[in-house]
């Protein structure tokens, strides 16, 4: 099959690989006639481009906000609210739609059937787009669960579950009516993705609502962190890796016009990922208050992932054996080669970063951002571009508008990735080393956190430029899609395909003598081929592998007391502090500030006593953070006077000249919604937080008013503005002054403001 300019007539002769029976084209008795639904594929493809462009533009905006803080010009346009929009858009909207595009195209062809239901397909498409729009509206408004890649609030989470189930029904219905007995390995990867994403999504998002767009995670502190990174890590695994591996195993052989290098290796690749990936989540929490055994288990399994991942990369690249000359001419193959190489780099780096000593340097720095972008820009982005350039002539039934533009897209995109990752790797290592540097006298070499931020400016500029190049490539891509679409035929040709239905009964063709004895039956491999032919059994096997791994790690953390030693001095947040915490969440402060001091001397010197598991038992959700663009806040309580916080929120640059924090002057003018506090306290009490009298109807706002008055007085006494007792700022100050206080002080603070330490 020629990709862009094949001569007519060569097509039929080249289709069908040697040894495989060619598909009958002439009608004969006993054959089913059907056609493929490519309309749904076209829809998902266009959505992939549109949301990809939006998500990447938001990425460019937040990259620029880091170097030009004035770009945080409105509450809904500030870094803390836009950063989740960027991650959600590129993961779920761009990569999600790309996966659906490829899955709808390849599943029909691999199963020799139309999708189970056109209507369910439409529902899936429009439902998913509606969810994306809901995300794009609610995240800038500050509605968030504060869990990375699971920020969307509970009504949207329910909608996601519904749409996902509809997709699953449509997908498994298609497998059930297939006309090809054996499920190709790409289908296995789709099955694992669909099943695991459903499990992850449901269990990480369990929460108690406190209003239409506000909820509290049912888990607290260490357990919440554990669930979140079990989810977060496996969202990367089963939303960005396995679906795209399925696409690779289908579209790579298609573009290279030869079967995958080793089918055996692809089976190994599949089972290794399914068995091992789930365990690796705790490597996101090294040196935190997570129990040591969980952390070590996560590290061990992460290192084990390296080999199968590289097996997969090698399998992809070697599929081009004997076809490397085509790479020169074909932008599709160029995109695939870089994508698979980026997969290899990212999956080498992942296990390396999961080694504790490496992680100690990289955690909280831009190194992680660089790692992620190698994966997303390189692997997910380039797989998507290659796949869509391959699909365009087939979906729009005309030649690709411009192969040259596609080539240009490839080179500009590659250059953009290079600029981006080189800059941001340097930034990560630089900042990590600065944080841990001591001078000859044994004191921190860079005691002011801001020094370690200002140093990164040149690299952050270079990152923004690299991202800009990548987006220019995206625009070329869009132009090519548009112009190819304009050349489409007036009416799409819908070929009628014929294939025999599956026989009711199925017996594996005998391969030599029938096996006798347990070992022989095992060695015969008939059991694996039986799984391959029975999608339901196969799916159950995947669920078992994933569930065992999950339960083994999760149950002990929840049920063995010694994993979360309690600290008697740690008490729940007061109603006002709880309201302040919700404002902290609304503004997305956790995107830049961690609340988890690791047990290293360079951390305790800088931030104070390291964090303990018992300190977070009332934190629904946990707010440990994953990146320190600003300093850690775990011991912020009592560090500065109340007035300092007021001034700092109003204009961070009046306190720290080079600060890049967005200003939050609106906190001084917005009225605090005291009436909502009772609902918050009640929801927390439902989760088992001992609120005592505060749950009595109307009591929580009374307590909050009393504490607010004290703090407002303190601010006024310190020379600040008077009359703040009804404003949001007092709640934020109350919360910040409480952070880390209980475990380092014998008694809880008096309900009031704090003066200078």
């Amino acid at each position: 099959m020629m990709l862009f300019d094949g001569a007519p007539g060569t097509v039929a002769a080249e289709s069908g690989a040697p040894g495989a029976p060619a598909m009958p084209r002439v009608p004969s008795s006993g054959l089913d006639s059907f056609s493929y639904d490519d309309d749904i594929v076209r829809k998902f493809m266009v959505a992939t481009f549109v949301w990809g462009l939006v998500g990447m533009l938001v990425g460019l905006i937040i990259a620029l906000q880091l170097v030009v803080p004035a770009l945080n010009f409105a509450p809904w346009f500030s870094f803390g609210r836009l950063r989740p929009l960027h991650t959600n858009a590129v993961i779920f909207a761009f990569a999600g739609n790309a996966f659906f595009t490829g899955a709808y195209y390849s599943t029909q062809r691999l199963c020799k059937t139309r999708m189970f239901s056109d209507r369910l397909g439409r529902f899936h498409f429009w439902g998913w787009q509606a969810i994306i729009v809901a995300a794009a509206v609610t995240l800038p408004l500050g509605f968030t669960q504060a869990k990375e890649y699971a920020e969307l609030e509970w009504p949207i989470d329910i909608a996601i579950a519904v749409v996902w189930v509809v997709f699953a029904v449509n997908f498994f219905g298609t497998l059930k009516q297939r006309r090809e007995r054996h499920l190709y390995v790409a289908i296995w990867f789709y099955i694992a993705s669909i099943i695991t994403v459903a499990i992850l999504h449901i269990f990480n998002n369990l929460s108690v609502p406190a209003g239409w767009f506000k909820s509290y995670s049912i888990y607290a502190g260490v357990q919440d962190a554990f669930m979140q990174w079990w989810y977060g890590h496996n969202a990367v695994a089963f939303f960005l890796t396995t679906p795209f591996l399925g696409l690779m195993y289908y579209f790579m052989p298609k573009a290279a016009e030869r079967p995958v290098y080793s089918y055996k290796l692809s089976i190994l690749h599949f089972w290794s990922l399914v068995f091992i990936y789930i365990w690796a989540g705790p490597h996101h929490l090294h040196y935190t208050a997570l129990p040591e055994w969980a952390s070590t288990l996560g590290m061990a399994f992460s290192v084990m992932l390296w080999m199968p991942s590289w097996g997969g990369m090698i399998n992809g690249l070697l599929t081009l054996r004997g076809a490397w000359h085509k790479v020169v001419d074909d932008p599709v193959l160029k995109f695939f080669v870089v994508a698979v190489t980026a997969y290899g780099m990212a999956t080498f780096e992942g296990p390396m970063l999961s080694v504790k000593s490496v992680n100690a340097l990289a955690h909280y720095t831009d190194w992680i951002i660089a790692h992620v972008h190698t994966g997303t820009l390189g692997w997910n982005g380039f797989m998507t571009f290659g796949m869509i350039y391959w699909l365009l002539p087939r979906l729009f039934q005309t030649k690709l508008y411009s192969k040259k533009l596609a080539e240009l897209h490839f080179w500009i995109g590659s250059f953009g990735i290079l600029l981006y990752v080189v800059a941001i790797y340097s930034a990560g290592v630089t900042q990590g080393l600065m944080w841990r540097a001591f001078d000859q006298t044994g004191r921190l070499a860079y005691p002011d956190f801001i020094e370690t931020v200002v140093k990164l400016f040149p690299m952050w500029w270079m990152r923004a430029i690299g991202g800009g190049f990548y987006i220019v490539g995206m625009l070329l891509f869009g132009w090519n899609i548009l112009m190819t679409w304009r050349n489409r035929p007036a009416v799409y040709d819908v070929p009628v395909i014929q294939a025999p239905p599956l026989a009711r009964q199925y017996a594996e063709a005998p391969r030599g003598a029938p096996p006798a004895g347990a070992w022989a039956r095992f060695a015969n491999l008939g059991w694996h081929r039986m799984w391959e032919g029975r999608w339901l059994l196969f799916t159950v096997m995947v669920i078992v592998a994933v569930a065992v791994a999950s339960l083994f790690e999760i149950i002990p953390t929840f049920l063995i007391r010694s994993n979360v030693p309690t600290i008697a001095a740690v008490k729940p947040y007061t109603p006002l502090e709880l309201a302040g915490r919700d404002i902290y969440i609304r503004e997305g402060c956790f995107n830049c500030h961690s609340q988890m001091i690791r047990p290293f001397r360079y951390e305790t010197e800088r931030f104070g006593e390291y964090s303990k598991a018992g300190e977070f038992v009332y934190d629904h959700p946990f707010l440990w953070g994953s990146r320190r663009i600003g300093p850690d806040l775990a011991r912020e309580g009592g560090k500065y006077p109340d007035l300092w916080h007021v001034r700092h929120m109003q204009d961070p640059r009046s306190i720290t000249a080079k600060s890049i924090m967005p200003a939050f002057p609106q906190l001084l003018t917005n009225d605090l919604d005291f009436n909502a506090i009772q609902r918050k306290v009640d929801a927390m009490a439902m989760l088992g937080v001992p609120y005592g009298d505060a749950v009595l109807a109307g009591h929580a706002p009374v307590l909050a008013h009393a504490q607010a008055a004290l703090i407002a007085d303190t601010i006024a006494q310190q020379g600040g503005p008077a009359g703040l007792q009804n404003k949001e700022i007092v709640a934020v100050v109350a919360y910040l002054q409480r952070l880390g206080w209980d475990a380092t002080h014998l008694s809880a603070p008096a309900a009031g403001g704090k003066g200078a330490p």
Partner: protein, 71 residues
């Protein structure tokens, strides 16, 4: 949750968890080893599945003059 975690903490169940880990890992290793030593030809049909359908892009023929863009 409180009483349940007390019971579970005191029950000394860790041996079950360790046995489960060993079984889990053994199944995985068994699959890996068996697949590793299989003959290449076992999956020849499956490996060729993506290449079975003929979906080369159509090429404009002389009589196919009507295009959306022209209308």
């Amino acid at each position: 949750m409180k009483s349940l975690s007390d019971v579970v903490s005191g029950a000394g169940l860790h041996i079950y968890a360790e046995v489960a880990l060993v079984i889990f890992f053994a199944v995985f290793i068994a699959i890996v080893l068996r697949v590793l030593i299989a003959k290449r030809s076992t999956w020849e049909h499956e490996a060729n599945l993506p290449l079975e359908d003929d979906d080369a892009p159509p090429h404009p023929s002389p009589d196919q003059g009507t295009r959306h863009a022209d209308q």
